[in-house]
């Protein structure tokens, strides 16, 4: 009933956290920091959009980090070694990533296996494939990369909205339209509520499931492109563990991992909170990077416990979820 409350709480936590950082560090509350926050987490945001669709539908996609790694290596080799025009390489890799996601969705649907294990296989496959392509970090030198990286909208106060930031914001906007204002979006929520009822209502479960995972794969590929632009290189180990960051952002954003409940706006705030933790640690200078993991874990726990307390009605459903997970 109160499905908005988690998002509101998440937003308040972010604003309080940002205000706290602003009081602590004099130069924190500036458009420059915000711009960098968005730029540094653009790839995570793009990935988290796809993950939100998957999780609302009651599934999970563990392969996204590996797909990101594969994409960066593929782009580096295609553009750097084979001389394929960057735009063509982008299209190729997006098609590949989308088809990969669709294949996983088809396996989940037609083999009736838990998404967890199918996408685990996908993660092994994608990571293994990127290792096979190259185990070295390959720089990408293409004029298009320089043009795109040089492009930025300037904000008052010295902040910059870079190309990849704008791309991420566009993906979020597109995702919000798709999730909240289209028939496909309603199908996604319906699937997360109950697969069996969804099928009985005559909703095309198979087609929707495949499309959801295709979307997640496609966006993981796009996040790989963003990461490739961000680092101007391709490395088979990039994106290790990013699937966890994306899942954490989605959960912190108020989406229930049991499916059926969640918003993309919440995910956006979740990504910002994870970015804020990183930025705080950078600003502080004495804290070590591992505190980010601990704080993220603590936040994850706090939000999950909070959701449990809020959803008194979810009692019986959580039992069923626990048995099926």
């Amino acid at each position: 009933m109160n499905s908005r409350l988690p998002v509101i709480v998440t937003t308040i936590v972010f604003l309080l956290g940002f205000a706290g950082c602003g009081l602590h560090f004099p130069h924190f509350a500036s458009t420059r920091v915000v711009g960098n926050l968005l730029t540094d987490n653009a790839y995570l945001g793009v990935m988290a959009v796809g993950m939100t669709f998957v999780i609302i539908s009651g599934g999970i996609d563990l392969s996204v980090g590996a797909v990101l790694g594969f994409t960066t290596v593929f782009l580096a080799i295609a553009i750097g070694r084979l001389g394929i025009p960057p735009l063509l390489a982008f299209v190729l890799v997006l098609l590949l990533a989308g088809a990969f996601g669709a294949a996983m969705g088809a396996l989940i649907q037609f083999l009736e296996m838990p998404p967890f294990i199918v996408t685990l296989a996908g993660m092994f496959l994608a990571r293994g494939a990127s290792f096979l392509l190259s185990t070295q970090s390959i720089p990408v030198g293409a004029p298009l990369y320089d043009t795109l990286n040089a492009f930025a909208l300037h904000l008052p106060g010295g902040g910059r909205l870079t190309f990849i930031t704008l791309l991420m914001l566009a993906v979020f906007a597109g995702g919000i339209v798709l999730l909240h204002f289209t028939r496909f979006g309603s199908y996604v929520y319906a699937l997360g509520g109950s697969r069996a009822s969804t099928a009985l209502m005559g909703i095309p479960v198979a087609r929707t499931t495949i499309r959801i995972y295709a979307l997640s794969g496609l966006l993981a590929g796009l996040s790989g492109i963003v990461f490739s632009l961000y680092t101007s290189s391709g490395y088979s180990l990039s994106g290790v563990g990013n699937e966890l960051d994306a899942i954490a952002a989605v959960v912190i954003g108020g989406t229930l991992l049991s499916g059926g409940v969640g918003t993309l706006f919440g995910t956006f705030v979740g990504v910002l909170i994870e970015g804020l933790i990183q930025t705080y640690i950078t600003f502080d200078g004495t804290l070590s990077s591992w505190w980010a993991k601990i704080v993220t874990g603590a936040l994850l726990f706090a939000f999950i416990a909070f959701q449990r307390l809020m959803s008194g009605g979810g009692f019986r459903r959580s039992r069923a979820g626990a048995a099926a997970a």
């Binding site: 685990l120 296989a121 990571r127 993991k293 994850l300 626990a322 048995a323 997970a325």
Partner: protein
């Protein structure tokens, strides 16, 4: 074959359950393949009072994953999953390596095991009392645990020189590497605890239908906490073995992705991710299958990167073999599960 559901298995003096045949055949096939790749594969020698050879290597390097799968199989049997075991390995290894040179061995081991137990109980409480989905509950520790491990090692690779702790990596009992002995002992202990008593039945009941089990008088909450605690303890032992093996603790990489290997081992062992029936022995066989593949790829001279691709294909094959849909088509006989509902 469908009669197997009703008829209890015959109690022969020795019994190789018929359902174990695919796994054992797979292990044998992989070992023979390894033999084809490396002619010396089955050669076992004795050097300095310690057995050596590729076969021993498979056992020795397979020990941590086998250890993890001992806990994981019980967790999965209750319908849960424990994603945190890799991080728990890192924590216990980091603690053991930090304490080894300044404290006596029993204190070091006790502390490392205790921290694993605490982690396991924490997971269990989240799942059983807060009723958080297992995959989410253990995700928390998976994310935060590695940070805690880095806190303990202060971000460095913590090395140690204590002979006591090093024995678990380099020592041997009657020529058999210590890690193998520890894992074998833990397997026997787990089997005795779970199959020697009614505990195993209760775990299966909890996974099969928690509600019905509660009505039948089984304390499903206690069972759930117990299996996660056991999983944490097993992960702690695996962490000690891994730290002893390299004489140091690497908080970043110790046990990284091993939770996935452990889950894979359990699934290869025929235990359904939906809970219910489980086999401890076959989970260990599953761990050996994974390690035999890894060793084989290394011996064959193929780049080690092939590991992941081969693993992906194995997962795919197991998925096909266990798919309810294919079973429904009659291509394969179901174990004894009747699940109408899809997850």
């Amino acid at each position: 074959m469908s009669a197997a559901v009703d008829a209890p298995p015959r109690r022969a003096a020795w019994r190789v359950p018929r359902k174990a045949l695919p796994q054992l055949a797979a292990l044998l096939a992989i070992l023979l393949l390894d033999r084809a790749v490396s002619p010396q594969f089955f050669h076992v020698g004795l050097s300095g009072g310690r057995l050596f050879g590729s076969l021993i290597d498979v056992l020795n390097h397979g020990a941590p994953v086998a250890m993890l799968s001992l806990g994981m199989v019980l967790v999965i049997a209750t319908g849960g999953i424990d994603l945190s075991v890799g991080a728990v390995m890192a924590i216990s290894g980091a603690l053991a390596a930090s304490l080894a040179d300044s404290h006596p061995l029993p204190v070091t081991l006790g502390a490392a095991l205790a921290v694993g137990l605490v982690c396991g109980v924490w997971n269990g409480l989240l799942v059983a009392w807060l009723r958080i989905q297992p995959i989410v509950a253990t995700l928390i520790l998976m994310v935060a645990g590695r940070g805690v491990a880095q806190l303990i090692t202060e971000g460095r690779i913590r090395t140690f020189s204590s002979h006591g702790l090093a024995w678990f990596g380099g020592g041997s009992v009657l020529g058999v590497p210590a890690a193998v002995v520890v894992t074998a002992a833990a397997t026997v202990l787990t089997l005795a605890l779970v199959r020697g008593t009614a505990l195993g039945l209760m775990v299966e009941a909890t996974g099969g239908n928690a509600r019905a089990s509660r009505l039948a008088g089984i304390d499903t909450r206690a069972m759930t906490v117990a299996v996660y605690a056991w999983s944490g303890l097993c992960a702690a032992v695996a962490g000690i073995l891994a730290a002893a093996d390299i004489l140091g603790a690497d908080a970043n990489n110790a046990g990284l992705y091993l939770e996935l290997d452990a889950i894979l081992a359990v699934v290869i062992g025929g235990t359904s991710l939906l809970g219910g029936r489980f086999s401890i022995g076959l989970a260990v066989v599953g761990a050996l299958i994974i390690q035999a593949m890894n060793t084989g790829i290394l011996l064959s001279g193929l780049p080690a990167e092939f590991n992941l691709v081969v693993k992906a294909l194995v997962v795919l094959a197991v998925l096909l073999a266990q798919s309810p849909r294919l079973k429904a088509l009659g291509l394969r006989r179901p174990g004894a599960r009747a699940t109408g509902a899809t997850p």
